[in-house]
Amino acid sequence: MLKDVTLGQYFPGTTVVHRLDPRTKILLVVLYIVALFCAKTWLAYLLVGVCLAAAIAAARIRLSAMLKGLKPLIFIVLLTGLLNLFYGRGEPIARFWIFKITREGIENAVFMVLRIVMLVMGTFMLTYTTSPIMLTYGLELLMKPLKVLKVPVHELAMMMSMALRLIPTLIEETDKIISAQKARGAEFDTGNLIQKAKAMLPILIPLFLSSFRRADELATAMEARCYHGGEGRTRLNVLHMAARDVLALCLGAALVAAVVVLSKFGL
């Protein structure tokens, strides 16, 4: 039952977006977020929206996959929308009881909702089109300058990829433990919230123990295969910035510039 959890939500593909260097994609997402937060007018939002739509289309990601990813956020999106709707200043257009709705309020609400939705969709584009390994590698390379400040960049990246590697194994393990405890009469879906939380203990404790054991064995196996930190390591797949990466970054920078200019002139 736990096996269908798709973590990292990566959709393999060979489109231009998939083939972009992970570093480019990470930087593009940063630029995209900057643009999104600078946007203050309809035209600016439209521009950012068109870019997002173009990227989704180019990566051939189905819209349904995008919307599915938004599902868990519905509550937050609606709440933000409602709060902004009632907190607007200016001439009220409608009022009932202690609430009043203004033109500015409506505009704010729509902007806020758009901002959250587009923010989430933009970051999804990164994880949908980049494999977790490539994402980690990209992050490691981007953070490399931080080594000067004694930030353990390689170790952080290695931990992240180990975590990603162990997720499917631990999910399988959890499944087994649940079955084993059920076979011995444990009940997980009855009782109130506190009882349910307590029922999780017989799952969590064995899971914890076994992950420690696993970590220990994995560390030994890594040592046996000559792992000795990031020093002097080479790579099977080396990343190269291609012309398309430079082009994509220029487009990203242009988007930010355009949004800033548009907002400045209040268009």
Binding site: S161, P168, E172, L218, T220, R225, C226, H228, R233, R235
Partner: protein, 285 residues
């Protein structure tokens, strides 16, 4: 053929005890010489010290007494640790706890990456190792979707990519189904035939030990028997006293012998056993 690649001299080892407890020797005075290109099986019941011994071969553990010399290098020399680990590869029991990456070929590349091998050479080694274990077609798969036997083959490829001269297998088939077990044993044979590698196999399965050219039996941290399978397995009573079994064929002949039929106990395979029986009874007809 007579060149010694691993020399163990009077090796003693114990795990550092908790406070207030006394240390118990896991290995006490083990001496062993392993020759180049040989296939040595190490047998012993749980807790006999065989896995601890294996971990001394590539400096995962260091001797508390005595010494271990691998390809002329003392394992205590810290600056030689990487070279020792490259030359003596090690495959463990649980493939799930050996695989480090979400992609098969990236996992196989892990060791050469650690050794700083140039990228084009890594690619060559990864392809070669995957072809050797017959997993080349799965190179872009996710390891957690493979079967246990396939995962273990990937783990072996990950070790072979270092181009080790000696490979120690620590109960590599204990968690596998019969097919996976056969595949792993075939790879071991191929490794010896095509690469001339020295193989050390720690195992519980007698039919695997039979294929070795030397069997070392351990008990309570000591070597108690050492010789060719043909010399060791006929010592049925001694082996059973140590909590070990013998190959089914030897067992059959031994039981017959107990019942007064005088048969040699040296038949290690079904074919050999059939021959022994046929020789004896064909004459009578």
């Amino acid at each position: 053929m007579d060149e010694t690649v691993i020399q163990i001299d009077n090796l003693t080892f114990f795990y550092t005890p908790d406070e207030g407890e006394t240390a118990e020797d896991v290995l006490s005075g083990v001496s062993l010489e392993i020759e180049k290109g040989s296939f040595v099986a190490i047998l012993g019941h749980n807790g006999s010290g065989k896995s601890t011994l294996a971990r001394h071969l590539n400096a995962l553990l260091l001797p508390k007494g005595g010494s271990v010399t691998v390809f002329g290098m003392d394992t205590k020399a810290e600056d030689l640790t990487l070279e020792i680990r490259r030359r003596v590869g090690m495959v463990f029991q649980n493939p799930d706890n050996q695989i480090v990456s979400n992609v098969v070929e990236e996992d196989v590349a892990f060791a050469p990456e650690n050794l700083g091998v140039p990228t084009p050479e890594i690619r060559r080694r990864v392809d070669e190792a995957l072809k050797m274990v017959g997993m080349y077609g799965f190179r872009d798969h996710a390891p957690h979707l493979l079967s246990g036997g396939q995962k273990q083959r990937v783990a072996i490829a990950g070790v072979l990519a270092m181009r080790p001269e000696c490979v120690a297998f620590d109960e590599p088939t204990a968690m596998l189904d019969p097919q996976g077990r056969r595949d792993v044993m075939d790879i071991i044979e191929k490794l010896r035939r095509e690469y001339g590698s020295t193989v050390i196999l720690i195992t519980h399965h007698m039919e695997e030990a039979v294929r070795a050219d030397r069997v070392v039996v351990m008990s309570d941290g000591k070597v108690v028997m050492d010789g060719a399978p043909r010399e060791v397995f006929p010592r049925v009573e001694e082996l059973e006293a140590l909590g070990l079994s013998v190959p089914e064929t030897v067992r059959l002949l031994w039981e017959m012998r107990k019942r007064g039929v005088d048969l040699p106990l040296t038949a290690l395979t079904v074919e050999e056993c059939a021959k022994v029986l046929a020789d004896r009874y064909a004459v009578k007809q």
